[in-house]
């Protein structure tokens, strides 16, 4: 028992140390970062954060990122819910192959698809909008969302659907009033996963935006200049990208275990 605790503690230490290093670095001045190796900032400073929160070209990056992530979550749930219902309740032509095709979209190497993506969204006039990034990320989040939701929905007995239909509910009414509340935790977990994949992705988000919808992760590269890297500012920007993730996982903490098995155990 003790051995287990110690092992787990050691692993958590391994997870936290690099993050701790980033956090304390964000409170240091650049002289201290480059000058000496200190485990705790000698001159505690908020300057790096003040720079970010007072400069619109910095903080708009966060607003942009959050906008397209939220948009992606909404679109993903709207289209994945009915699709997952169909997969969990019915057999239809090509169902298995459709499912694998969906999954195969996660396997396409993004590098070469960047240019076609760029041209596709430019040609329909979506370039540099939040919607473009959200739609592109749907390619990766929808397959996973359908997979997770289908697992949760299969856990709901079909008798419930049938009873509702006998009681005279229409499909839409039943779906929204009865079915969705029953798989609440599944929806929470799905939202978490689509948040996760959209929030951490950089390559597509950077390619599909230039000014108006530029994500924070792309703005971070600005800290590299001719005079070297502004480590403190870079660290502060990095810390601020971790916080939304922590908040989101806090909300779904009780469902994480089930959700990570994609509702399948």
């Amino acid at each position: 028992m003790i051995k287990k605790r110690l092992g787990l503690l050691a692993y958590i230490l391994f997870v936290l140390l690099p993050i701790y290093w980033l956090i304390i670095m964000s409170f240091k001045t650049n002289e201290e970062i480059l000058g000496s190796l200190t485990l705790w900032p000698a001159n505690f400073t908020f300057d790096n954060y003040i720079t970010i929160f007072t400069d619109p070209s910095w903080y708009m990056g966060y607003v942009n990122s959050i906008t397209y992530v939220a948009l992606n979550m909404v679109i993903t749930l709207l289209v994945a819910l009915p699709a997952a219902y169909a997969f969990s309740r019915y057999k239809f032509i090509g169902d298995k192959h459709l499912f694998f095709w969906l999954l195969s979209n996660r396997m396409a190497p993004p590098a070469v698809f960047l240019l076609p993506f760029f041209q596709l969204y430019s040609s329909v006039g979506l370039f540099d909008t939040h919607l473009a990034v959200a739609l592109a990320h749907c390619l990766f989040s929808i397959p996973l969302a359908v997979w997770i939701l289908e697992g949760f929905m299969s856990g709901v007995p079909k008798e419930i659907d049938e009873t509702a239909y006998i009681d005279g509910y229409s499909f839409g009414h039943f779906f929204i009033k009865i079915f969705i509340p029953m798989i609440r935790s599944g929806i929470g977990v799905t939202a978490f996963f689509s948040f996760m994949f959209s929030w951490v992705e950089l390559l597509l988000a950077r390619t599909l935006t230039s000014v108006d919808a530029k994500p924070i992760s792309a703005i971070m590269t600005r800290t590299v200049s001719a005079s070297g890297i502004d480590w403190g500012l870079l660290a502060a920007a990095g810390v601020l990208t971790i916080i939304p993730g922590v908040l989101v996982i806090w909300f779904v903490r009780n469902h994480v275990a089930k959700g990570f098995a994609l509702g399948r155990v």
Binding site: I93, G94, K96, H97, F100, P116
Partner: protein, 91 residues
């Protein structure tokens, strides 16, 4: 609008053929639904599964021929057709 997609006649024919096969399979499935069966492949398959397997196999036949030999692509194509027929019929 479609200029950037850089279409060529051969690729257009290729995609049209794929779309045609998918359409045929769908229509067949509606009028003569198939059942899972066990052939020489180590798993039970439906017609659609066998189509997928045979397409993937022929893709790799083409790649192997291109990488390893200097024979014309049409040789690989002919072998693939034979392989596809075998898998679809007896797989």
């Amino acid at each position: 609008m479609l200029n950037w997609m850089a279409w060529t006649l051969p690729t257009a024919i290729f995609f049209a053929a794929i779309a045609g096969i998918l359409l045929t399979m769908t229509i067949l499935e509606v009028y003569r639904p198939c059942r899972e069966r066990k052939g020489f492949l180590p798993l039970t398959t439906t017609r659609g599964d066998r189509l997928f397997i045979s397409l993937l196999t022929s893709a790799f036949i083409h790649l192997t021929m291109l990488g390893a030999t200097d024979l014309s692509i049409w040789v690989a194509f002919a072998i693939s057709i034979v392989a596809m027929t075998i898998i679809l019929r007896w797989g």
